[in-house]
């Protein structure tokens, strides 16, 4: 227990609030003193006494300073009480804080989504197919370039895979006896077009399903 029955941690706040209140009272007293003590003017029709001017000016400044100090001490004490768990926020204030946190979270998510995917909404099937075509066309051109000439004998795709040389690491990890999957023939333009048509059909079907 501190001095005068005031606990030690609270003493500074009590002192601050008390002095700020004293300042407010002193400001009021100073504002009234020239009138109450009749030294406002030296005589009728004469200018104000310098003491009255000083008191009124000082009273105005002291009132403003004391009010600001009082508010500052109130805020400081409330913060301390909240930190100590003595003063709990009201349900309304808690709800307001939660709503604010939720709004911030949603805004951050929207911003993050906008950064990762600039075009919002479902992808346009036509645009996706065009991009797919743009990706595949260079591959088709390369395949056309490496296609063997008509005089060259094409390798037979039906023949079994060659056994790797002794001591050489196998190219693919496949169990022994597994039939090798034939690689697609270079220049399979028809196959690519077929794939594209299939993808287009699939996307159109998905769009219709979404429309349903």
């Amino acid at each position: 227990m501190g001095v005068g029955g005031i606990p030690g941690p609270v003493r500074q706040y009590v002192a601050g609030l008390g002095v700020a209140t004293l300042g407010l009272c002193a400001a009021g007293g100073l504002a009234l003193a020239p009138v109450a003590s009749a030294y406002r003017a030296a005589g009728a029709g004469r200018p104000l006494h310098r003491a009255a001017l000083a008191d009124w000016g000082t009273a105005a400044a002291l009132g403003a300073v004391s009010l600001a100090t009082l508010l500052a001490w109130i805020v400081a004490w409330r913060r301390r009480l909240r930190a100590d768990g003595i003063l709990t926020p009201s349900a309304r204030r808690r709800a307001w804080r939660e709503a604010r946190t939720q709004r911030r979270r949603e805004r951050d998510e929207v911003r993050a989504a906008a950064v990762t995917e600039p075009a919002a909404g479902p992808p346009d099937p036509a645009r996706v197919l065009n991009e797919l075509r743009a990706l595949l066309v260079p591959l088709l051109d390369e395949a056309e370039a490496v296609r063997p000439g008509p005089d060259q004998e094409e390798p037979a795709h039906d023949e079994p895979a060659r056994e790797p040389a002794a001591g050489a690491e196998p190219a693919r990890c496949e169990p022994a006896g597994t039939p090798s999957v034939p690689m697609p023939r270079p220049g399979g333009l028809a196959a690519m077009e077929s794939m594209l048509a299939g993808a287009e059909l699939l996307m159109v079907a998905c769009g219709e399903e979404e429309a349903w």
Partner: protein, 84 residues
Amino acid sequence: MVNRGALAGMAAIFAVGAWLVAAPFVLRYQPAGARWTGASRLDVAVGAALAVAGAAAFLVAVAGRIGELYAQAGAGAEASAAAE
């Protein structure tokens, strides 16, 4: 927890009190050597009270703030010792 505004307010109240004590002589509405007027007595008394109260509250607030810092430092040292 005590913010700077609160401490500055205490210092400002002390300054206003000191100004009130000095005002009769600075503004010359208390002639030197003459008997003190009512305005001078009032200003000096109110100013002295404000200056003393403001200074005392400022010192109490600073002492409390230092005490809080010591308590935080002690709590931090105990926590680090417990972690080790």
